[in-house]
């Protein structure tokens, strides 16, 4: 699915950098946890093996397929911008892949949509609650994670893979 997204005409400038950032975060975590120094390349031309994320039929496969489908949409409709912006798409991929490197088979199905400006929304629901990731069309607005559990709701303005993992794990 990643390969298919990459093959589309839309270029995703921060995408490779984002993957490197994720790799660096995870390598740094491992280094801290096991007290060993690990070599992490920062060469943007090098490839990172992300195949381990993409088990057939896994929840992330559905999300990436839906993101890819958004790219096939018209630019606009009566509601507003229909196709996601490069900014929204690249940040969403960064956050999603960053979160789904963790065990996620029990996370519920995520519904992907664009907002009226080309931002991206993903909502996950279970009997325990609800989580929504909102990535705006440009960086002039702050992305956020909406969460609702036990009748209480709030916005987490730190839209980071680590936070997303924490909230999605509460749905299980």
């Amino acid at each position: 699915m990643i390969a298919e997204i990459e093959k589309t005409k839309i270029k995703l400038p921060p995408y490779i950098e984002a993957l490197h950032e994720i790799a660096t975060i995870h390598a740094s975590k491992e280094r801290n946890s096991i007290g060993q120094v690990e070599n992490v390349t920062t060469n943007p031309q090098s490839s990172i093996n992300i195949e381990f994320l993409l088990n057939q039929g896994s929840p992330i496969d559905d999300i990436l397929a839906d993101l890819r489908d958004l790219l096939k949409e018209d630019e606009e409709d009566e509601y507003g911008t229909l196709k996601p912006t490069k900014h929204a798409l690249s940040w969403t991929i960064l956050l999603i892949i960053g979160a789904y490197v963790k065990p996620h088979n029990q996370w519920p199905f995520g519904c992907v949509a664009t907002d009226s400006e080309g931002g991206i929304r993903i909502e996950w629901r279970s009997q325990k609650g609800e989580v929504r990731l909102v990535v705006h069309a440009s960086d002039d607005k702050k992305n956020y994670i909406y969460h609702q559990f036990d009748g209480q709701y709030a916005i987490d303005v730190e839209a980071h893979p680590r936070k997303l993992i924490w909230w999605l794990n509460r749905l299980v």
Partner: protein, 139 residues
């Protein structure tokens, strides 16, 4: 000066009124449940030159127009859900009729002003909505 959100020349709609909300994007439909997603109930942002949802979230009064009419009003409409006006009032929202067939759900904040409440109410509206059952292609 533009009229405030709640001003209407029409009398208040009775609580037992059913209104239609058009799902004009395929992504507003949950592929698993076939119901609406919260995205269908978020007001578009208010911008200096553009504020299409200033008067509220667009709906159509079921008693005054057919599902076919709702589908035909949009270049693409992937589904229609129904909402019960009394249920809207139960959660502190209201509805304001502005034409014989059209009404706006009022009381929803913009996501830019109050994202937590906007998201919460969008979720409530999603949960209150039911897919409209009449086949739009039927005569």
């Amino acid at each position: 000066m533009s009229p405030p959100e709640h001003e209407s020349i029409f009398p208040a709609l009775p609580c037992n009124t059913i209104v239609y909300r058009a799902l004009t994007r395929s992504s507003w439909i949950n592929k698993r449940t076939k119901g609406a997603t919260s995205a269908a109930f978020i007001k578009r942002p208010h911008l200096p030159d553009k504020d299409p949802d200033r008067q509220g979230l667009s709906t159509f009064i079921a008693a005054n127009c057919s599902l076919q009419q709702v589908y035909s009003m949009f270049s693409s409409c992937f589904g229609v859900v129904t909402l019960h006006v009394g249920r809207l009032r139960d959660i502190g929202l209201d509805i304001c009729q502005d034409t014989p067939i059209h009404a706006n759900i009022t009381g929803l904040p913009y996501k830019e002003d109050d994202p937590a409440t906007a998201e919460f109410l969008a979720g409530i509206l999603r949960d209150l909505s039911r897919p409209a059952l009449e086949d739009p292609k039927s005569p």
